[in-house]
Amino acid sequence: MLEGLMIGLGAAFSIQNLLMVVAGCLIGTFIGMLPGLGPMSIIAIMIPVAITIGDPSAALILLAGVYYGAIFGGSTSSILLNAPGVAGTVATSFDGYPMARKGQAGKALTVAAIASFGGGTIGAVLLMVFAPMLSTVALLFHSAEYFALMVVGLSAIAAFAGTGNVAKATLMTLVGLIMATVGEGALFNMPRFTMGLMDLQSGFSFITLAMAMFALPEALFLVLNPARAAQGDSGKIENLRITREEGRKIAPVIGRQSLQGFFIGVLPGAGATIASFLGYAVERNIASKEDQAEFGQGSIKGLAAPESANNAACTGSFVPLLTLGIPGSGTTAILLGALIALNVTPGPRLMIDNPQIFWAVIISMYIGNLVLLILNLPLIPYIAKVLTIPRNYLIPFILFFTLMGSYIGQNNATELLILVGMGLAATVLKFADYPLAPLLIGFILGGMLEDNFSRSMQLYDGISFIVDRPMTLGLLVTAVLLVVIPSYRARRAKARRDGVAEGD
């Protein structure tokens, strides 16, 4: 591990990569602060830029920086405006906004930054320990197990979509898988489902799909309902300091929630959103009586808990991506797509074939967290000015960058029409309360899923690999149970509070 760390340090401390971290964190904070733009849209917009850089580690470092920055920026707008830019920071506004209203906005931002820093750093340490272990196990996997593992991942994502939504999420996953079969696959060398159209020969473009699924509907929602982009002048933010006593109060919260958040983030489908809500609930339950009364009224514990949990979960979600090549959330799915575009296949071989990428990403996580703490925190009063950009200017620019991102990737104006068409379809799906992240994850995993399935079919000359390999069978049974049990229970339990369906 020490050797790997050295490689990572060497790679991450190049001038280019340091600039990438700083740029990524700043851009992420900037855009993440805008209400209604989540990390998925931001990363989708940044992908063409990352791909043109050409160096996979630099690209991944940039995108990871954007991801952190977006979560941090989202908590800023949660605290200052009560308008979370990201679902993962909704829980932050429970206590952050009351603090800001009491005139403690500066202190709230500091607590949020420290908690994020703690969560991110502890998460990175855990990632460093667990990812190599998991990838040693993963090297034993055959294509049959990979196929089964991807099925488990996809059904877990559908299962975590929340009560009453499992069927919808499953259907979206299937639509994504179906879209992935369009075009010419590597395994068969014959075009499928192209309806004779040349434009479909190479299949749908992943960047276009990502933009159409996330950036466009969110922008259109902002147009339709101006109240979503709550505007306000950010006012004066001063007095960023916290006392020693307050520091002592939040330290154990940060420690506990970083651990819990990390492990929730590792699970496929359960990302920063669930981690932050759960973190808030757990801390409220174990707090002492007088502390408990303060929750919701501006408690610093209630602010620190979701903030450390969501950052640790972001780091945790990198574990399945880097070791198994299976994304657990929409954001990591987009990162996976970007990596494949750069000719890097994440998976257990990543650490052997491209150790510099793996370790550079981990080191850049530390640097990214430091950048957020040292650079962004003092700059927050100025960055918060972005909240005062009039929406008349903001929306055309968001739409323009969406179009640009898809155009740069393909250099083809027809792609823009496909983008608008799919964006409209995605907006309708959003109206009808269908989760969109499973569609994109299904689309990205579709090719790999079919390849592994076909390979095992060929090796075993038929479907018998499912019975012959106990691990495959076990994983597939798990996948079926994951989907069936929640919908069965949903029919039993009539009214149950809905979890947050999508967002990270």
Binding site: V223, L224, Y393, L399, F400, L416, V428, L429, S454
Partner: protein
């Protein structure tokens, strides 16, 4: 019928068309030697189609009830008229126009027009700010993409 069930119906129809292609038309063009493979190009689509049909029927027939959360949705599609629907439609039209004009009219002019008209549609009337901002932004983006990133974007109209 609620919108989510209409969506399920549309997906069901698409899945049936997809399944028709997978089950009946695709295998005809398969070369004879590939027919001895345990897996055909149509195998995986067949599985997907069956699963998609079952899932969409599940939603269409209303087997799964969404939990009543009392949570107000961001936008209630039943009252779409109450929102700024005209703005949204105009902007969508503008995006289509941008896609059609980007090549013939060149990047600089199309982008400038897109940003300016977009803001105008949303109600911006301060032209002395709007026009310089739009011009500056299109110039900067063109410089960054074409000169810095090295991706060709035709700056001027075709006839130049």
């Amino acid at each position: 019928m609620a919108l989510d069930r209409w969506v399920a119906f549309v997906i069901l129809c698409a899945a049936l068309a997809y399944g028709y292609a997978a089950f009946f038309t695709m295998d005809a063009s398969l070369p004879p030697f590939m027919k001895r493979n345990p897996i055909w190009p149509s195998t995986f689509p067949k599985v997907l189609c069956v699963m998609a049909v079952i899932t969409s029927l599940f939603i269409l027939l209303g087997f799964e009830k969404a939990a009543e959360t009392g949570k107000k949705p961001d936008i209630d599609y039943r009252r779409l008229g109450d929102y700024h629907l005209v703005h949204a439609l105009l902007l969508i039209g503008l995006m289509v126009a941008y896609a059609l004009c980007l090549r013939p009219l060149g990047f600089l002019f199309s982008t400038f027009a897109f940003l300016a008209i977009g803001a105008f549609v949303l109600g911006e009337r301060k032209f002395h700010i709007l026009i310089p901002v739009a011009a500056l932004a299109s110039g900067t983006v063109w410089y960054l993409v074409d000169q810095v990133l090295g991706i060709f974007l035709r700056p001027w109209p075709m006839f130049f």
